[in-house]
Amino acid sequence: MLHIHCPYCEEYREEEEFSVVGEAHIIRPLAPEELTDQEWASYLFFRKNPRGLHHEMWAHSHGCRKFFNMTRHTVTYQILETYKMGQQPSITTEDTK
């Protein structure tokens, strides 16, 4: 059970209050019609899936209902930071860029 700091409630809460959405910072293409099928597929389905640091989006579903991002290690499960929507991570690696 992860212990997650909600950047909006500004405190740690139990994992059961949250739901995970998936990889963070996936931006919807502004002009989907101009993309090739392959580019569109890449947006829809292809993910980094790193073994190591990962930026991922969560939602505080039972709490403030806000979405936010976190940088988490996918092997040790350590959470290095959580940050608000619209902000950039302060901890990155080559894999996560």
């Binding site: 909006y8 409630c9 500004e10 405190e11 809460r13 139990e14 059961e16 209050e17 039972h62 709490g63 403030c64 209902r65 806000k66």
Partner: protein, 199 residues
Amino acid sequence: MSNSARVESPLEHADFAGLAALKINGGVILREAKLLGHLNLRGNANDPDFLKGVKSALDLDLPLAPCSSAQNANTTIMWLSPDEWLVIVDGVTEAAIEGKLRQSLRGHFAVSDISGAQTMLEISGKDCLQLLQKSIGYDLHLDSFPINKVIGTALAKSSAHIRRTGEYNFQLIIRRSFADYIWLWLQQSSKEYGLSVTL
């Protein structure tokens, strides 16, 4: 509404009046603060006009700190998220207060009457802390959950907003359709302490 219209809380079937008459001396005391007015208020906390508008409509400052609440004689405001508050007022006044809010607010805001959507349970008694901690993962110790703090959290397999009003006093805001489930949960979980119902 006409006077003939019958109004019922989500826990009407639990017969709290009958249970209160039993006068059980339990470690957990339950009271339904039923049929209050509940308004969901949305707006931009960084907009001074919004804050002013709320203040003038409710005669109460909007609580801006995360997980805080504010209260006066008739009104309680609970922080739900940076742009969302729950305003609890006396029953039947919600429409008028919604109107007042709509009048005094400008720009981007929202008010939704959700008085039918939820009810408030007041839980107290010497064992209430342990009872709640059975199904709430949040730390209810006074250090982390002082009086007037309010949190949205998971309560057993449902959700609730919980506000502390005293060392051994809590308000639980629960959804109407889950009320029966919470009532079952309460009865089961309080067995060892004894549950007394008050009106």
